[in-house]
């Protein structure tokens, strides 16, 4: 059986993403990033508790370039995931469902995530 030709648009540059769609994709991306960060965070917790020497090793590790970069990324991911998650919970409670308000809150969440990214980059000296 021949497949009927479906309309396709694979040229992503011509696809316009509404702001809530950007928020949604970043919510997934940040969630995945946070899952990937779990082993690193768990390692630091275990090492820092192991003894005074381990605690100092983690403090030194966090002062290194790669660790600071990872911290900034995790800070953004956590902030975006948290803010977007709160927005979804409010929408579940019928708060901000209307399109204009949903768009406005999506802008606010995306911007707040970027603001945390900038603050974290400043805090950890990137």
């Amino acid at each position: 059986m021949a497949r009927s030709p479906r309309p396709r648009n694979l040229d992503l540059w011509t696809v316009r993403f509404p702001v809530p769609a950007v928020l949604s994709i970043l919510h997934r991306g940040s969630g995945l990033l946070l899952v990937l960060a779990i082993p690193w965070l768990a390692w630091m917790l275990e090492r820092s508790v192991s003894g005074p020497e381990g605690f100092r090793a983690v403090v030194d590790h966090l002062a290194s370039g790669p660790a600071r970069l990872a911290l900034v990324l995790v800070a953004w991911a956590l902030a975006h995931h948290l803010f977007a998650g709160i927005r979804y919970l409010l929408i579940d409670l019928d708060i901000g469902v209307e399109r204009r308000r949903a768009r406005a809150s999506a802008w606010l969440v995306n911007a707040a995530g970027v603001a945390v990214l900038i603050l974290a980059a400043g805090r950890w000296g990137l």
């Binding site: 997934r28 899952v35 917790l45 003894g51 005074p52």
Partner: protein, 116 residues
């Protein structure tokens, strides 16, 4: 027994765990940012407090549920080969369980009442 409301249950668990994680991240993360522990004694002394240790264990429970459902949702959308998806999800599930065992061991390794 497979029920036809499994999707709804995951949806509800995702939101319940989210509410706990929001509170935990704000309180635990806020405390670490405002007053970072300066040495090992202070750090373990704080973690060993019954309230803090209980909150951390509950956070692991919420995180395991939340991360599992989240990874499952993403895998269902993007990882199509059944064998790959199954292996990935089993690996994530065991990873999260192993994390809980290690976390319990770490918290138990702190001598009780060693530091105020």
């Amino acid at each position: 027994m497979k029920t036809d409301n499994a999707g709804l249950r995951a949806w509800m668990l995702q939101r319940l765990s989210a509410v706990y994680l929001i509170l935990f991240v704000l309180l635990f993360g806020g405390r670490l940012l405002w007053a970072p522990p300066v040495d090992h004694a202070e750090w373990t002394g704080w973690l060993a407090r019954p309230g803090v240790a209980t909150a951390v264990i509950l956070a692991w429970l919420a995180l395991a549920v939340h991360a599992w459902i989240g990874v499952r949702d993403i895998a269902m959308d993007y990882v199509k080969p059944t064998a790959v998806r199954f292996t990935l999800l089993v690996a994530v599930a065991f990873g999260l369980l192993w994390l809980g065992v290690r976390l319990a061991a770490v918290l138990a390794s702190i001598p009780a009442g060693g530091t105020p």
